[in-house]
């Protein structure tokens, strides 16, 4: 979304990225939660990334660059990870991020909210593989929830992001 004339310095973008990783992303539990968080910092109408905390220290183009880079990085690492790892990440997100995991699975299956998680310019085949893996992971987690429902700490659900929040 940046004009070519206003390319921010890569060193400052790297600093903003480090700040984002250390202060914000480090607090989130697992790559899937990080992905959901990063996707939620993007305005769906404009495609621009916004982060109030980072905006105190860095200019808007730098914040946007850093968030977009972090989003691509986390997405790429998740999208090509083995299904076993992927399912574990989704399950970790669902179990720690929601007081009613079964409700989350049902809602995600019906609304397909996970479609907003991919970065805009990523390769279409990678995006398709990701979506497909989410569908399979949700089915596996749903089956696991039926077999082993675990009690949840309702407080934990307040700390994790969700798509669109």
């Amino acid at each position: 979304m940046l004009e070519p004339s206003e390319q921010p310095s890569p060193i400052i973008v790297e600093e903003a990225l480090r700040d984002l990783r250390n202060r914000t992303l480090a607090r989130l539990d697992g790559d899937f939660a990080k992905l959901v968080y990063l996707a939620s910092t993007r305005d769906y109408n404009t495609g621009r990334y916004v982060h109030d905390g980072l905006s105190f220290r860095f200019s808007e183009p730098i914040v946007e660059r850093a968030l977009a880079a972090a989003h691509r990085e986390v997405f790429a690492s998740l999208a090509v990870s083995p299904l076993r790892t992927f399912v574990a990440q989704v399950e970790q997100y669902i179990r720690s991020g929601c007081a009613r995991p079964d409700e989350l699975v049902t809602t995600w299956n019906s609304s397909e909210a996970y479609r907003v998680l991919a970065p805009a310019a990523d390769h279409p085949l990678t995006v398709r593989l990701f979506m497909s893996n989410v569908k399979v992971a949700l089915a596996i987690v749903k089956a696991t929830l039926v077999e082993h429902p675990r009690s949840q700490d309702p407080q934990s659900s307040l700390q994790l992001p969700s798509p669109g929040r």
Binding site: V80, L83, R84, L125
Partner: protein
């Protein structure tokens, strides 16, 4: 005698079908010539293709994910996994076909305006293009007949198909003498 006659009829039918498919493919190719494809389109075609292959194909067609689903998930999920991978494989094949077609479309457009055609290079391009198309059909046939997991035994074929397409795109770029930034680094 009847056996020989019916075999000949089947052979003739197959040859006829092949000729029909070839003519149709040529017709589609020439009908696609306008509007003229740009060099950027070709450049984007192989840059994005090169970026996605290898690791992604291993993940899609490799044995690890299927083994995991087979051991850890109920039958219903196994069916879902197979149908999802089949869709992915179809999409990937569609991309390979469409990129090969784009490359040839751009090349034919360039070649029409060029007064220095190299017959051997043109022949090699045509053979490579037909090989890519034929391999696509083979992979599609295996996918339809035996499902996506049969492709894991064909992972080398799939990788080979990607390599072949990359080579084709590089050859097109060489033949059309594109600016250096649009050439494939191999």
């Amino acid at each position: 005698m009847i056996g020989i006659l019916s075999l000949s009829a089947v052979a003739l039918l197959l040859i006829g079908l092949l000729l029909f498919l070839l003519r149709r493919s040529e017709a589609t190719l020439s009908s696609d010539l306008s509007p003229l494809g740009s060099d950027d389109e070709l450049s984007n075609a192989y840059e994005s293709f090169e970026a996605c292959c290898g690791e992604l194909l291993d993940r899609m067609f490799g044995p690890d994910d299927w083994d995991f689903v087979l051991n850890c998930a109920p039958k219903q999920v196994q069916r879902l996994f197979l149908s999802e991978r089949k869709e992915l494989a179809r999409y990937w094949l569609c991309q390979v076909r469409s990129r090969a077609k784009t490359a040839m479309r751009i090349h034919v457009a360039h070649a029409r305006n060029s007064d220095k055609l190299e017959p051997f290079l043109e022949l090699r391009l045509a053979i490579d293009y037909l090989m890519v198309r034929a391999k696509c059909e083979l992979v599609a046939a295996v996918l339809s007949l035996r499902g996506p997991m049969a492709l894991r035994k064909m992972i080398k074929q799939a990788d080979g198909l990607s390599d072949q397409l990359t080579a084709l795109l590089a050859l097109v770029s060489k033949a059309d003498a594109l600016p250096s930034h649009t050439r494939v680094r191999r």
